[in-house]
Symmetry: none
Subunit: 201 residues, 4 copies
DNA sequence: AATGAATGAGAATTCATTCAT
DNA sequence: AATGAATGAATTCTCATTCAT
């Protein structure tokens, strides 16, 4: 990595810490600069402005996420097993990156301009991957066929985001992986008992 | 309603509109005051400060929500049917209160101090109600017994919140009730086909 | 005058003093506010921004100028005599308002956006008045007929502006009215001696 | 010209373009450096600071002006004719150097520190030349004797500066040489008709 | 000699809150 | 009770200048 790239990483890391502590609006460039051991002006050599710095955060983090996820999926067979692994890794990743979790879930995801950023686009590879697994499950016949795979994906991501968000709002006072197994169960079979009627979509 | 109470309602309604448009930080007391046809100072006669005004919003709205929900649940039998109704009403309520939806989902829910407020507590009746229905379902034998009812509730609320949040972030460009039926289906039976194996929690 | 109008005048007066000392760019709102004994924020209740405050200066001053000039022209007959009076009053006014002179001549007159402002338009009454006198002079037959009155007016204003500007740049170290008489002479008869040939325009 | 001298010229030319576009305060060293295809630091090898660069502009330009003027005055006889030529050349020069005109007339001439610079002194040869012509005219008897030659010179320069400044402020939308002849006329004979009385200074 | 990354002082502007009327 | 003028702290971003390479 070039010297410039390293310094950029240092600034982004400081930004994650500060933004996660105070939120976007209550974080100051001065604080980020201090934490990164650079002058305020230096930040503006690397990022257009405060918002640009903010939205630059997930780009790198998401690359890391996808790269590692791929490793964890190696050698796993069957869509169900893969989805279980995705659920586990998702929770594991945010458990081990709580600062980033706060920034992403409580600030970024909810921001007006987020969907327009290149940041948002950086999630594509992961969501595409998940979609592919779901379709794999359909072909295997283990994933229901009467609901669009997009909706299925939405369900999974929705639950995961909610689990992480709740954990953050509760002050990270319990283990995020605690209910990992149960979550998988619920995702696959819902809240109904086997006795529960099943209506076609 | 007393004259004071009416004016308070007018201010809260203006606050909902303004906060929903700009978010908490980018909304100004002046704008809210103008919309409510009062002077800035007047707002401070009814609310301690900007944050107090902000967190006062859901209290009334939640009462309305619970009251109406109860009406809609009248005469419905069976936990499954009741949960379906809750899902429908939840989506219906936010579809018809999009300003409030934005404020609650994108701002409030994600705010650091929210869990500490009386506002947060105002949700209790509703979440309790949902828990009761889930336990009713257990007794009926239609809701699975191997997962804690709290987790089941979390799953339902997580999905619903996510559906609404996504709709807001996509600019409310489709009908929120569109997938109402499919969501119920997924909540009950998960993404797995009937062929999918079932592991005990 | 209302209380608001008085405070506005106080701010403008402070602005004249500060801008005249440092120029537009090197003047700060803090300094103007201090001199006016108000908080910075107060200035923004009366003026949109720094530039708006800047360009608000001549509006009042010009009214004063025109009003007084009219008084001085009372009872004077003959275009020549009137023009002499205009020249005298012009120099007299800036001699007695050197701060304003600096602001107007060295900053405002030369500013890119000045011509677009309402400030610029406030000069119209005066320049119109001068044109009327020139045309009066034509009818009397004392002003030459072979050059457009607009050009004649430009000549007069050009010389006057230059005299004042030069005086300012030389540090106001001499009496601006010193050459008043000679300037009038030159305006009427030019630099040529009576022997000098005269070519028709 | 040495390599250094050439690079200095390139920087000055870029400076003229940039300063003329944005004014002194709103021009940046980066922009000038980019236009000159050098690094910012390089500029500081040739000029002490931004102001030094700014005030270095007229030195070269004025040499050029005087040199060319001398050529144009060759073979012209009579003070009147020479002054006419000076007027023409003055307007011609700024018409063909509008960037420099803007910088000199709207920025430099009006700047606090200008009179103290070596730049200001570089005008001396030209103003001396004009004074000499005026005195030549006196001896010829074609220039009036009752006003100091310094004042006469001031009148000429004042009108010329004003004509150029006005043209710049009007967006250079007409031909600067348009009124060249009329200006000469006015300089020699003033605005009065031959009938106008003449009072001795 | 040339570079250009790093610096950090400096300033306009916003806005929640107060308080005299 | 209602007003709205006044406050002033707080923060982003710019850019001339320096200096290590």
């Amino acid at each position: 990595m070039s010297k410039k790239a390293i310094k950029k990483q240092i600034i982004i890391q400081s930004a994650i810490e500060v933004f996660s502590k105070n939120g976007f609006q209550n974080s100051t460039i001065v604080e980020i600069a201090k934490k990164a051991n650079v002058a305020e002006g230096t930040i503006y050599q690397y990022f257009k402005n405060k918002e640009d710095l903010f939205f630059s955060i997930p780009v790198e983090k998401t690359k890391e996420f996808s790269r590692e996820l791929e490793l964890h999926l190696q050698g796993i067979h069957g869509a169900f097993n893969k989805i279980r692994k995705v659920i586990w890794y998702y929770l594991y990743f945010f458990k081990t990156n709580p600062d980033y979790a706060r920034t992403l879930m409580l600030e970024m995801r909810v921001s007006k301009n987020f969907v327009k950023t290149h940041s948002y686009k950086s999630f594509k590879p992961f969501t595409n991957r998940l979609l592919a697994i779901i379709e794999e499950g359909k072909e295997e016949g283990v994933v229901r066929n009467d609901v669009s795979p997009y909706l299925l994906r939405q369900l999974i991501l929705g639950i995961l985001e909610h689990i992480v968000t709740r954990w953050l709002l509760k002050g990270e006072r319990y283990d995020l992986l605690e209910h990992c197994h149960a979550v998988g169960e619920l995702v696959f079979h819902g809240i109904g008992s086997s006795k529960g009627e099943r209506v076609s979509g």
